[in-house]
Symmetry: C2
DNA sequence: CAATTTTAGTCAAACGCTTGACTAATTAAA
DNA sequence: TTTAATTAGTCAAGCGTTTGACTAAAATTG
């Protein structure tokens, strides 16, 4: 049987309340009893039962993270960032993965509610209305991570439009005028979608023509990058650069270009997105825009902490900047 | 205020116990009351308070995962595997990262105990005696993942000696006799250490000489692979193959070899370890031994489930097999 | 020195649920 | 028709803490 307050109380000869207060540092005891209580507690190896404590305090010091997929480095790194800050504030982290499925999301919101978590971090799907409503109904403080979300809920993300705009601008500034794009899933209303927008806007603002056959859709994975690049190469050999919406597709593109007998960056430049470790593994090394995954985690958890503490947020929507990492795959012409 | 059993009980006109039993599917009520209770529960949006429930049942349906580092793909994938099985059994997962630090490990074991988790999965450092004792003292079912551990505690891992033996054997079978190794940290008594053993054993069993200057130590990261390879190249140009204890070091090696004006695999073959995505990104693609990370997660959680259910384990120590993935970086001579 | 404040506690309720023991009424069996 | 068994509940204790209200003794103040 686990040691309880009662055991200590009996042994010392005081009531549980006294023991409780002493152990919580409330100075309502003589020096002697205090010392005796600490002594006995240590001797018995007392560990407070947080469940019992939570029942009365209505705080679990636990937060729930609803996330798509831990085996994806991107999400794993934001989870890692979250965990670090949570731990700093003495919060535990319950992680639930959903694969972006709405049913799962709903299920886990309910579960977390039942577990009485003090807050929820949502880094999963596109946050359907059902989730938003449920979240609102449960009244648990929530912040959304790395996902676009209309209105109300506090959130932290990167500005996909702006950052891909910058990537393409970088290509343009390097003298490229014929720029293809390998996009992610076009219709997910998320990064895949927004990055195309940034690409188009950059072309437009610089008087370049948007050619739809030069935007080919991948699925963010390496193989799709190879296939997409092959298709681009088929349709138009005159391009001098390509913007890939992920590093995996970027290195896929490099592979395809090399296989076609062309050189990177001499014949075709490529820029990726993510700054995944694989951008360093490819040959040539991939120039890319780095996403601050860990920082996304940090900020979201800091933000959640603020709202759990009942403080007002200065900003309810935070955009973290990305950075272009110049390596070997883009040539100045 | 949250809806409680009492609210339902009052509204229906029965006692809390009846409501409790009905909601838990214990058939001690008439069809009418049962239906009425479900109706009212739904109407009020009742969600059971698991904290209160846990206090009496002494089960939290939560398990704790103590892990080194989530931003490391290897551990992230193990965690992902664990989460999937945990979720299958309706267990929640509290994740704590330690960076392999013993103090942190101890801290989290205590914390998890206080949170009354039903079980612990330990995938962190080398499991110092202090942890083992604490774990034993807390009496929480525990299984160790991906870490060597002497005796008692159930565990699941890969056999590092055997698998690296096989990798080197594969090189030997391909006709190589002069094989260097880029190892991980030599003295960690973990994978770094054991993989060297496997390498040595394979050489020995095949009548090849072990030359200590051909084993150079890295830290599993890409950059260290480059440096290690440069050193090897300096000391001996006659080698025809190198075994890298990680894929990152493997692609580092490839980079260094290419920079030295040599070709992979024509001049020097290289084999890695992990089957990380970067093995696909490199040029040439890296032949490697794939580790079953997700499966490590699955099995450990399945095992933990068995012991939480009080069942006896058929095997207390499970080794999962790896597989050699043949790609482009090894030549047959 | 009486009045007040402080100190060092005690007592009991409460948090929301489960569960064993009990009861009254109904149904089935003999 | 009496007895036994089943059904549909109720009652109250208990899980391990916290916490507001209370009290008796000691210390401080005017």
């Amino acid at each position: 049987m686990a040691v309880t307050l009662k055991d200590i109380a009996e042994k010392v000869g005081v009531t549980e309340s006294t023991v409780s207060r002493v152990l919580n540092g409330i100075p309502k005891a003589s020096k002697e009893t205090r010392e005796e209580i600490f002594r006995v507690a240590a001797e018995l190896g007392y560990k407070p039962n947080q469940i019992a404590r939570s029942l009365v305090t209505k705080k679990t010091h636990t937060i729930g993270l609803i996330i798509s997929d831990l085996s994806n480095t991107y999400f794993a790194r934001v989870a890692s960032g979250i965990e670090k800050i949570a731990s700093k504030y003495d919060y535990s982290l319950i992680i639930s993965t959903t694969g972006g499925d709405e049913k799962e999301e709903l299920k886990y919101i309910n579960l977390l509610k039942e577990k009485q978590v003090d807050g929820i971090l949502f880094a999963s799907g596109r946050m359907p209305a059902s989730c938003k409503n449920l979240l609102k109904e449960t009244e648990i403080p929530t912040v959304v991570v790395a996902r676009e979300v209309e209105e109300d809920l506090p959130s932290v993300h990167i500005d996909n439009i702006k950052e891909s705009y910058n990537a393409v601008k970088y290509l343009i500034n390097s003298g490229h005028h014929n720029i293809a794009m390998i996009s992610g899933n076009k219709d997910d209303k998320e990064s895949g979608f927004y990055r195309i927008q940034g690409y188009k806007q950059a072309l437009k603002d610089n008087g370049l023509k948007i050619r739809d056959d030069l935007i080919v859709e991948g699925d963010f994975k390496l193989q799709s990058g190879i296939e997409a690049m092959e298709e681009i190469l088929k349709s138009d050999y005159s391009i001098t650069a390509v913007f890939a919406a992920s590093d995996q597709m970027g290195v896929g593109a490099i592979k395809a270009i090399k296989k076609a007998g062309l050189k990177v960056p001499d014949d075709i430049s490529v820029i990726g997105f993510d700054n995944n470790i694989i951008s360093l593994a490819s040959d040539p090394e991939l120039t890319t825009v780095s996403q601050p995954e860990e920082e996304l985690g940090w900020h979201s958890m800091e933000m959640l902490y603020q709202v759990m503490e009942g403080r007002d947020l200065k900003e309810r929507k935070i955009y973290l900047p990305c950075e272009i990492i110049e390596r070997e795959s883009v040539r100045n012409i």
